[in-house]
Subunit: 347 residues, 4 copies
Amino acid sequence: MSTALRVAILGASGYTGAELVRLLVRHPDVRLVALTAERQAGKPLAEVFPHLGGYDLPDLVKIDQVDWDGVDFVFCALPHGTTQDVIASLPPRLKVVDLSADFRLHDVETYATWYGHAHKAPELQAEAVYGLVEDNRAAVKAARLVANPGCYPTASQLPLLPLLRQGLILADDIIIDAKSGVSGAGRDAKQANLYGEVAEGVHAYGVAGHRHAPEIEQGVSEAAGKPVVLNFTPHLMPMSRGIHASIYVKLAPGKTADDLRAALVDAYKGETFVRVLPAGVAPQTRHVKGSNHCLIGVFPDRVPGRAILLSVIDNLVKGASGQAIQNMNLMMGYPEDRGLEQAPLFP
Amino acid sequence: MSTALRVAILGASGYTGAELVRLLVRHPDVRLVALTAERQAGKPLAEVFPHLGGYDLPDLVKIDQVDWDGVDFVFCALPHGTTQDVIASLPPRLKVVDLSADFRLHDVETYATWYGHAHKAPELQAEAVYGLVEDNRAAVKAARLVANPGCYPTASQLPLLPLLRQGLILADDIIIDAKSGVSGAGRDAKQANLYGEVAEGVHAYGVAGHRHAPEIEQGVSEAAGKPVVLNFTPHLMPMSRGIHASIYVKLAPGKTADDLRAALVDAYKGETFVRVLPAGVAPQTRHVKGSNHCLIGVFPDRVPGRAILLSVIDNLVKGASGQAIQNMNLMMGYPEDRGLEQAPLFP
Amino acid sequence: MSTALRVAILGASGYTGAELVRLLVRHPDVRLVALTAERQAGKPLAEVFPHLGGYDLPDLVKIDQVDWDGVDFVFCALPHGTTQDVIASLPPRLKVVDLSADFRLHDVETYATWYGHAHKAPELQAEAVYGLVEDNRAAVKAARLVANPGCYPTASQLPLLPLLRQGLILADDIIIDAKSGVSGAGRDAKQANLYGEVAEGVHAYGVAGHRHAPEIEQGVSEAAGKPVVLNFTPHLMPMSRGIHASIYVKLAPGKTADDLRAALVDAYKGETFVRVLPAGVAPQTRHVKGSNHCLIGVFPDRVPGRAILLSVIDNLVKGASGQAIQNMNLMMGYPEDRGLEQAPLFP
Amino acid sequence: MSTALRVAILGASGYTGAELVRLLVRHPDVRLVALTAERQAGKPLAEVFPHLGGYDLPDLVKIDQVDWDGVDFVFCALPHGTTQDVIASLPPRLKVVDLSADFRLHDVETYATWYGHAHKAPELQAEAVYGLVEDNRAAVKAARLVANPGCYPTASQLPLLPLLRQGLILADDIIIDAKSGVSGAGRDAKQANLYGEVAEGVHAYGVAGHRHAPEIEQGVSEAAGKPVVLNFTPHLMPMSRGIHASIYVKLAPGKTADDLRAALVDAYKGETFVRVLPAGVAPQTRHVKGSNHCLIGVFPDRVPGRAILLSVIDNLVKGASGQAIQNMNLMMGYPEDRGLEQAPLFP
């Protein structure tokens, strides 16, 4: 197709890179023209990801081998920290969705505190638009550089932001007990992510120190209209995909869990990907696997004045590559769900 | 779309029924007009399968509530044994793909031996076309009633049939050690399929007595041109989806594993869904998950004069619902891969 | 051994029954003389639980077939609700540990509210001693009937009770986000517990309505010295064994997470089975699998004035059968860890 | 205990090393005096294996820090290839069980062919006794250096050797389709063993080239009285522990599967750890998990003149550390099952 958008994926040998390919080979407006992977350059992608064999795809190359004249759009799926230099070096006409954490935090000092060094591209940091589409659609449409939200922040903010904006819940003592599949940790060989170390058990990690905490706090503070510090406690689950956020909140005076549900139903009533479940129904991560969906459940707490928000996504889709494509669709004027129509895979 | 094919799914509350829905909601030529489930009639499908919420689908009904005047095509995903009466009662103008085992065996005595009773619709049994598409495409195109192959027989016959037809392997002492995910056992509540009974362990079952053995032997015998009895030993794997067939064969005199691979590459060179891997590469079930793909690997054995064939499919897709849609596409004149284009989901 | 304690297990065909057998076949002071299972009566246990083949065990019988004259001690592992009548009918000289929930709640009205009917043996309910050994050792030693604590209550109360007793944390707004393996749901055939419905996903269940909530509140209220209502939200994990309790608490004024850890180290310093981990170390359920251990971690929260308690047990051992044996050892004057010495199985 | 056997474990930071510790902390005749791990030296073992916290164990040291004067017995759980030099350097008075493959093959040329280099300690290779206890008990009792069998060879040879010795099956065309949990691949960080690469899928590996093939052939050839080449095809399972060998054999003329079962029952009738199941019962790996048991099932094949042998072990116990302790018990004159009495952990 002569008018196809020519897309490059930087960092195609990781799980989010492969997930971009999985979804984009079905996108009718996109042609994949460059796939990079520094250490695997020269190989066909199918050697690194055999499930993607059988598609007509370019071989893996190094970033400096990409002919940028033939590229219209870039997904950057590189590790955190390495991304700033790479994106700063791209031709400025290129639209970019960055899946790393490098451009998510607006505040340079918060970035430096959590990542241990000054930001290397502060002007791009200022330009970058936070791509939580349902909350920030207008800005995304006009953006050149989108910072794709993290998986935990996506699952956490989708239920929280509308409720905070409307003053239905309090911003203090928010507790987010989050559960994630292990694909969020990437494909690098680490002992902690071996099958024998992950299967048939659960544990918390990064307790009170996970880098997604400031990202969530940034959105929550903006929605609440004041600085918020919250509890964010991630747990590793024996599963490949899925994020489950269990959020314990205090109701604003006089409000009920039903009020919260009604407000969320209203907030997401026109959305393709976010669905609020009926009262009494708890969402399950397995029911969004492979899809860009987010399911939200709302429950009253036994403790008076409190409520429970439950939210699930597929960390590699709505929590990464699917949301990145949703951002691209908006930036390019395509229908927002293009290439993201597939139903979840269950069981 | 006024010209859409109006499709009914009988038995939509099982895994293969749900998988038909998952795939058909994306099929541009199909409109789902009836979904049946005797015990769940009256419920929205999303209550039974929450991952299919968010689609505009008819509620579940009983079979006798279906208005057949509004139906053009039927998928029958009912349990083995109950299907014969149901299909015999349908208006004869309806085209049908039956996913049960009821119409797969051509020989009425073999059927009676393995299923314990005489076939109740022998004239339909005679009419039914065996829907292993890659082996039987012409007959499928002309069929009104297609018997969709079993999961094990699909994975086993795709590598075996071309080699037997060409006389490259011997038909005696074929050993099929097969491994299956548990979704093949369906969604009925059985103690043997509980998580605690399936996870973190493997075992053989139905040893020397599994009903897929005569189905495989039927195809193998036809391809070999003589009656064949073979070893078929299924094993239950701690996973939801996937079939892995490890097939141990004797080479015809003078033939090598390379000859086998070359013959299979040639046999499947125009196929969308079957791919023969390069020498030395073993297929993995996780690399076809959610797709209609079949991957085949061929290896020389250490034992002189022998070779090893390895074949993988997703039992719910190429082993059931995907292949059923592939059959429908052929019967209706649609492109064979329509609605089946999605890439596998990994990890 | 002529002086061995003659033990009967009522309900030996469930997971907790089998776990009692697994542990008691190694207990040098015990001889298993009766194993009951109403629907499986007449079978050898090895037919129901093949992993227990190879031991010299009595066949399964019905409860009314047991010769009580030959029994000294009874473990009752029957379903909730059926237990009251059975235990009331036993010869009163028999010592009993009941693993069901029937005798855990002291308050007859709370029992009636949560279980939907009046208690059938209120005098036994009054007699029963709550068998959370580390908290209630003296009473257990003197007891004839011990109500073995639930799995969630064990994991939740072990970190909470000492801190509440000492006033180091506040009793309001306690939030317990609990994660359990599926063996806690038993071995009955239920669709919700099939492998395909449990693997590779997580979800909350019984939100704000789980029957372990009043059991935890009973202990917490007693320790806090006032009635407490708390949040208890269980989640089903894709694993067979393990409970992980993530407990979010408010510090008493001036107290720190280090104070909590120090208090717990002190509270459990002489205990065989409870271990408080060093600062910064999060417990993992896989590190207690198969053992009677409880591991506890304590972390400061990012939210000022709050702390996080993490606690793990094996739900079938310290959360059921292991703790039951620990109770028996105390009731009979054996060393508390007898038969419970094995190290956890990892990986 | 002043008379305890003082035991050193070389390579205590791997799964087999940890499994030795798990079992030996319960062995009444053993005291662990040295645990080595070159890269982790200086750490407490509990930092590397938290499930082993709470035991009074020596910290990890380097091999050259061990005081051999205080050691009576050595388990060597080092990687293949590094072991020869280490064992050659030990004081010759020390009894040793080596869990690596270095001393299993008697033939120096076979070793060189499969391992790519000449053996570095050929005199020890000649001295080493193959520790498949049930087949070689007398030699083990007299041995100073025992080569502990591999996991696959243990599961494969236990059913095969008695049948070959008695001429009940033919030695040609033996096909071993083996399935293993991933702990057999060790604890080193490898991408191929990540949770995301192992869960929810199966595949063959090392097809026709796995180093356990010559080890099995060595035993089978000896039992058959002639050189045997056989098919050995290992598959990786999505589980941590367990080996399942499915062995397809030809019956000697006139023999039946029942003859095979009877012969195996007779061969193992006095054994503690090997159990032949009743006709029609297939063994499951989950029923031996954590134990030193081997379960064997025997089935007639549908193909005339053939039979199927099914055998399961826990690869880390009977396939490694448990069998190593069984060897030690024999070498030291302890009861053969000492420290190995625990029942399997299920589920």
